[in-house]
């Protein structure tokens, strides 16, 4: 909250019609309007069905309207299930778009992010980043989105194959998205970590249900505001806030969730979601959050391998002959 000490000159001829010149010094604040932080599911900003919330503290900033303590929705297991239904429907339409179209939509997201960089940086700073650190993170996040935007219509060329089988058959293999993918974003860096985990998932034609960093969920929600004003269709990226320990098991057990990418410090939680995921033979990848050196790196933090984690290969055969 920002209190502004202002000196206001009230001029002759004001609405009050007083014919005197008054110089008023006041301590009265103009209270800025702070934001209600909501989760982002199916293109809409929603509260948790549980009605619960948790609190995040951050430093007060001149540029921000938020008080030092804000309430964030505490996503529930039911929120996960609801999100899966939305994400499933959105995924089929997302995958049905042409790769060129998906590429343009993802690129548009980078445009929107760059335009909102001030807001993203402020959010990162509020959560403890330095100004230069925040700027560097936003730069890298935008560039990473651009990297994946250009990948949408290259994946098939790189991952598909014509298979020279021994026999009179035309045989080839193509990559396909898996479906709905759960993402447990790393606690830090909150923006770049989320972008680095989500972008390869949607670039491949999947939809994502993301559990945002609980350390800094506000930045994830600002990112959602970028999504909402980009052309990424609602439901393709869904972001829940809350505790990974609550939501990860539900994502891991849900049969409509095809895969899971988890960046978690808690090794026991990583192991337990891998165990939960086995019940539906889920494609699950868990890891400790990357170091800054790795996640900022153009080789270590992005690439085709990240996309391929959540692609299936389909091999198609047909006889050749008269």
């Amino acid at each position: 909250m920002t209190t502004r000490k202002e000196t206001v000159e009230v001029a002759n001829g004001s609405a009050h019609g007083a014919g005197v010149i008054a110089k008023a010094t006041t301590d009265e604040a103009r209270l800025r309007v702070s934001k209600t932080y909501k989760m982002y599911v199916g293109g809409a900003f929603i509260r948790s069905e549980s009605g619960r919330s948790f609190q995040v503290k951050g430093s007060s900033l001149e540029s921000s309207a938020d008080p030092a303590t804000v309430n964030i929705p505490l996503g529930s297991r039911k929120d996960v299930r609801d999100a899966v239904i939305v994400a499933k429907a959105a995924q089929e339409k997302w995958a049905a778009r042409t790769a060129y179209n998906r590429g343009q939509i993802v690129y548009r997201l980078a445009e929107v992010l760059d335009a909102r960089r001030g807001e993203l940086e402020a959010s990162l700073v509020r959560a403890g980043a330095t100004a230069t650190g925040a700027a560097r993170e936003v730069d890298c996040a935008v560039d990473r989105i651009v990297f994946y935007a250009g990948f949408c219509d290259k994946i098939a060329s790189l991952a598909a194959s014509s298979n020279p089988v021994s026999g009179p058959h035309f045989a080839f293999s193509v990559p396909e998205p898996m479906g709905v993918i759960g993402v447990l974003a790393p606690p830090r860096p909150a923006l770049l970590g989320l972008v680095s985990a989500v972008l390869p998932v949607i670039t491949g034609g999947n939809s994502a249900i993301v559990v945002a960093s609980a350390d800094d969920p506000r930045t994830a929600i600002v990112f959602c505001e970028c999504l909402a004003t980009s052309d990424v269709p609602g439901g393709v990226v869904n972001v829940l806030t809350g505790l990974a320990s609550d939501l990860a098991p539900q994502l891991a057990k849900h049969r409509e969730v095809a895969g899971l990418d988890a960046y978690l410090d808690d090794a026991a939680l990583r192991a337990s979601i891998e165990r939960d995921a086995s019940e539906s033979v889920k494609r699950v990848k868990t890891q400790a959050p990357f170091t800054d050196d790795r996640i900022f790196d153009e080789r270590g933090g992005q690439g085709l391998t990240f996309i391929e984690r959540f692609l299936e290969t389909k091999s198609i055969w047909h006889p050749v002959g008269l």
């Binding site: 020279p164 089988v165 026991a268 690439g303 290969t313 091999s315 198609i316």
Partner: protein, 507 residues
């Protein structure tokens, strides 16, 4: 047959009643062939096999052996060692040593030549391998001779060529081997599955510990002999025999970097669960319940052969078997009559007879499982038709069978039978065919039969399966990636894509 017709919509039944009521084909005595047995007198199996660890055969620390029998006559063929945890540990140590000392340091071009050598030796000894495969597993000699063994050799030959070309396979990325791979394979294609596992692992620079299935260990042990003769560095390939406990010891060994498993979905899930938190890499090739979708405009002669091949190949012991026939309603009655005629001509019997189409069921346990599910199908109200063939009195046998009037919810439409049993269901529109085809937790393979090219691709795009065969079925090739969607497992075997299962990539 008349019962099936009454289950069809009236108009369609009337239209095809003439065809359906045609008398069954009668071949009389003309269909009797003289026996044409493959000679086995030159096959010299040892009475007892040890474990192949560190480049040599040795007795197991467990001191235990178990018998492997010929399922077509229940005769004991040999005894094989039962590896315990200490034996598994020896094998993994040997593989680790070989990885560090030889295989990870060797140039790809040199690894390639070893693999080419294995492929060549396998071709040279192909007939012996085929005979032993048939004796140990019960599959017809014409399949082991013309499919299993040549395809196994092809897998070694194909992957040999990749060993020095991994930089081309993953352009822009660096591929590193994983280390020691533990590999567990099933009994339906014993030698071929060993080749699918060993060849890509070795090509990518890993060393392996392979456990064949307990009912079919012999060809893997012959392969161990062949690898010894090919003079691979000791420990690069280790082959240990045993049952579930041996497999579990391998899966849970701390010094294994990767597990590759082919087998049932149930066991696959257990393996995935037990690897949780270990950081070990995993690929699974599990069960299936493939839809074979036949449209009314399909080339019917080919479709009938494709359906027969899809379900009765290898007694239906095929994870990608076309076990759910989805037929467009208007073609149902005609197709069912033709299937009935066709399975009447199938020769069920001695797997070593070169004319045999359907051999022995692999084990007593599997036969019991098939019987249980077939009983369930009858109880649930489906109509059963089994080929009218005489079955030998000794051994494990099941006549080619299909069910009509099967409900989507029936166990025989949902569960993998892994036997020569086909469930026939119908559909009216392509959307319904797709809905039914995808309505399963499995997703290994699917077939589509139609003369319309655009319809094939429309279906192929939407079928949730790792392999889609259009106007064909059960085709395999080392250059074609194979593997499942959903609960049929993850990872691919074969092709450039299959190499990814055995390397670590840097971006």
């Amino acid at each position: 047959m008349s019962r099936e017709i009454t289950k069809s919509p009236k108009g369609i039944a009337a239209a095809s009643a003439g065809a359906s009521q045609a008398p069954a084909l009668d071949f009389g005595r003309a269909w009797d062939y003289a026996p044409a047995l493959e000679g086995v007198s030159h096959i010299k199996l040892q009475p007892r096999y040890g474990l192949f660890i560190g480049g040599a055969f040795r007795a197991p620390r467990s001191d235990k052996y178990f018998a492997t029998v010929n399922p077509s006559n229940e005769q004991v063929l040999s005894e094989v060692a039962e590896a315990n945890a200490a034996d598994v540990d020896d094998a993994v140590r040997a593989a680790r040593l070989a990885y560090e000392k030889y295989w990870s340091k060797m140039r790809g071009a040199e690894r390639a030549k070893y693999l080419f050598r294995i492929a060549r030796a396998l071709q040279e000894k192909a007939r012996d391998f085929a005979i032993v495969e048939t004796m140990d597993g019960g599959k017809p000699i014409k399949e082991s001779r013309d499919f299993d063994v040549p395809m196994a050799a092809a897998h070694f030959f194909y992957h040999a060529g990749w060993a020095d070309k991994l930089d081309y396979a993953f352009q822009g990325r660096r591929a590193r081997p994983l280390g020691v791979a533990g590999q567990i394979i099933p009994w339906n294609f014993p030698l071929l599955m060993a080749a699918w596992k060993i060849a890509p692992a070795l090509a990518c620079g890993n060393t392996v510990v392979l456990k064949p299935a307990e009912t079919t260990p012999l060809t893997a042990l012959l392969l161990a002999q062949l690898i010894e003769e090919a003079e691979l560095p000791p420990g690069v390939v280790n082959i240990i025999t045993g049952a579930g406990e041996t497999g579990a010891a391998l899966v849970n060994h701390a010094d294994v970097n990767k597990i590759a498993f082919t087998g049932s979905t149930e066991v696959g899930k257990r393996i995935q669960a037990s690897l949780a938190g270990t950081g070990k890499r995993l690929t699974l090739e599990l069960g299936g319940k493939a839809a074979n979708v036949v449209f009314a405009d399909a080339p019917m002669d080919q479709a009938v052969e494709g359906i027969i091949n899809g379900i009765y190949f290898n007694q239906g012991h095929v994870c990608c078997a076309g076990s759910r026939l989805l037929v467009e309603e208007s073609a149902h009655d005609t197709l069912v009559r033709r299937l009935r005629d066709r399975i009447a001509t199938m020769r069920v019997g001695d797997p070593l007879d070169k004319n045999t189409d359907v051999g022995a069921i692999n084990s007593k346990m599997q036969l019991d499982r098939i019987r249980e599910l077939v009983d369930a199908g009858e109880r649930e109200g489906a109509t059963r038709y089994s080929a009218p063939c005489a079955l030998p009195s000794k051994g494990y046998w099941f006549a080619p069978t299909f069910f009509t009037g099967v409900a989507q919810s029936s166990r025989i439409a949902r569960e993998e039978i892994f036997g020569p049993v086909l469930s026939v269901l119908t559909f009216r529109t392509p959307d319904e065919a797709l809905e039914k085809a995808n309505n399963t937790m499995y997703g290994l393979s699917a077939g589509v039969w139609t003369d319309k090219g655009a319809k094939i691709f429309w279906m192929a795009e939407r079928l949730k399966a790792g392999v889609v065969w259009g106007n064909t079925f059960n085709k395999f090739d080392p250059s074609s990636p194979f593997g499942g969607y959903k609960e049929s497992g993850f990872g691919r075997e074969g092709g450039r894509q299959g190499l990814a299962a055995y390397v670590e990539l840097d971006g």
